[in-house]
């Protein structure tokens, strides 16, 4: 079945639009994006796994979780919910943090607006707009990863990804 995956980056505008269709009704997809037990099953790129410390899905609430590597290394991720329209959309801001959720870098993190829409066939389309709020946010990605003449290692990549 076509999933109509879309990935549209406008780095100059510091925005990335990601879109995808899922073969499940909105209610299910929404739960998979907002409940810890479900999120942990898909959010970590293999072989990493996700481990939630706290998830408070309310406006102002926080999802604090770790990406756990095969050797037990942890990259903590902090996401705070800034807006919730139940069953339809939510917004969050994310950043690098330590195990207590304290930011490890100056400046704002990236923000993400995620919307869920029912489409034909009892399926769901999810649209996600990731915005890097300031230049410093993009630099944060870069400094974790790009170094002259080297490519990103998988663990560095996870660290980068964790920050969005």
């Amino acid at each position: 079945m076509m999933n109509n995956f879309l990935f549209d980056a406008d780095m100059a505008a510091k925005k990335i639009h990601v879109s995808r269709e899922f073969n499940a009704p909105v209610e299910k997809v929404w739960r998979a994006w907002t409940e810890a037990d479900f999120l942990e099953k898909w959010i970590a790129p293999k072989p990493w796994r996700a481990e939630t410390k706290t998830l408070d899905f309310t406006v102002g609430g926080v999802w604090l979780y770790a990406m756990v590597g095969t050797e037990g290394q942890r990259h903590w991720v902090y996401a705070q919910f800034t807006a919730i329209e139940d069953g339809r959309a939510f917004s969050s801001i994310g950043r690098f943090c330590d195990a207590d959720g304290n930011p490890v870098m100056e400046g704002p993190g990236s923000s993400r607006d995620t919307t869920f829409r029912a489409i034909e066939g009892n399926r769901t389309r999810v649209d996600m707009l990731i915005t890097f709020e300031e230049e410093s946010t993009i630099k944060m990605f870069v400094e974790g990863g790009f170094k002259e003449g080297t490519t990103l290692s998988l663990s560095q990549l996870d660290e980068l990804l964790a920050s969005e």
């Binding site: 990935f7 780095m11 990335i16 899922f22 959010i43 790129p45 230049e135 630099k139 990863g145």
Partner: protein, 101 residues
């Protein structure tokens, strides 16, 4: 301070300078003529672009010409490709979860 490609494109004037240079090499004066900001401000942006490696310069006699270096822009593509792949993989995992819900 370390410079990188993302810093190069982070400012509208620098993006405009890159757009100019894509069409051909230019002298600093020719670049500055396209902007209302002071020559000094434009020159500072050119300097940052040079430090980022996205612009190189070539001196012929007394003239300096700035060139666009497309290789450097590929760093963004590499990062984006990985980022894209990561979301594709995540969504495949999400498909599996949804099938079993």
């Amino acid at each position: 301070m370390r410079r990188d490609i993302f810093q190069a494109i982070a400012h509208p004037t620098r993006r405009a300078i890159l757009t100019l240079l894509v069409t051909g090499a230019m002298t600093p004066n020719a670049i500055a003529e396209h902007f209302n900001s002071s020559r000094q401000a434009v020159s500072k942006h050119i300097q940052i672009l040079t430090e980022c490696g996205v612009v190189t310069h070539l001196q012929t006699g007394r003239e300096i010409h700035y060139h666009f270096n497309p290789e450097k822009m590929k760093e963004i593509d590499i990062w984006l490709e990985r980022f894209r792949k990561m979301w594709e993989d995540r969504f495949d995992q999400l498909d599996n979860l949804l099938n079993n819900l």
